[in-house]
Homo-oligomer: 96 residues x 2
């Protein structure tokens, strides 16, 4: 099941993490922590963010790449396609 996908999207902090990673891909955990507090006003701890990233990775929305002691996080929005494919969204031809 794609339960992992919807579970991952169910949390506001995780959605903000996706926002951040879309804007700047390939961040490390510490980079993310900094930017989330600075730009998005989040107060989550490092461990909290780390656990959120694990959930996002389980859902296939984030892939990771190890490099020495750094771990880079990359977004992958392709799993989202399953949502609109499951419940077809009719085109909104309202505007011209």
């Amino acid at each position: 099941m794609d339960a992992d996908l919807f579970k991952a999207l169910g949390d506001a902090t995780r959605r903000t993490i996706l926002d951040e990673l879309v804007e700047r891909d390939g961040q490390t955990l510490f980079e993310l922590c900094g930017r989330l507090t600075m730009k998005h006003g989040l107060t989550s701890s490092r461990q909290a963010i780390s656990q959120h990233l694990a959930v996002l990775e389980e859902a296939g929305l984030v892939h990771t790449r190890r490099e020495g002691r750094y771990k880079f996080h990359h977004v992958d929005t392709s799993p989202l396609r399953a949502i609109v494919e499951r419940w077809p969204v009719e085109r909104e031809d309202a505007d011209q």
Copy 2:
């Protein structure tokens, strides 16, 4: 916020309800209960389904119409558009 939307999609039973309503729109609560147990193997009680429908309605995914003692439920998938608009899904031009 669209927190209601993601919260609504976060539950497996609610997703199955959406499946059912997409396949056959405008069902009453009792109709839904029957079909969910028959076709989808769910064992949820009437009250449980009713509460799920309330959550779906809050998210704008289901609209209701009263008619005497009947209440018909209609799907509206348009809120889902906000998801792919928030995190653009690149076209998969793999197939031809």
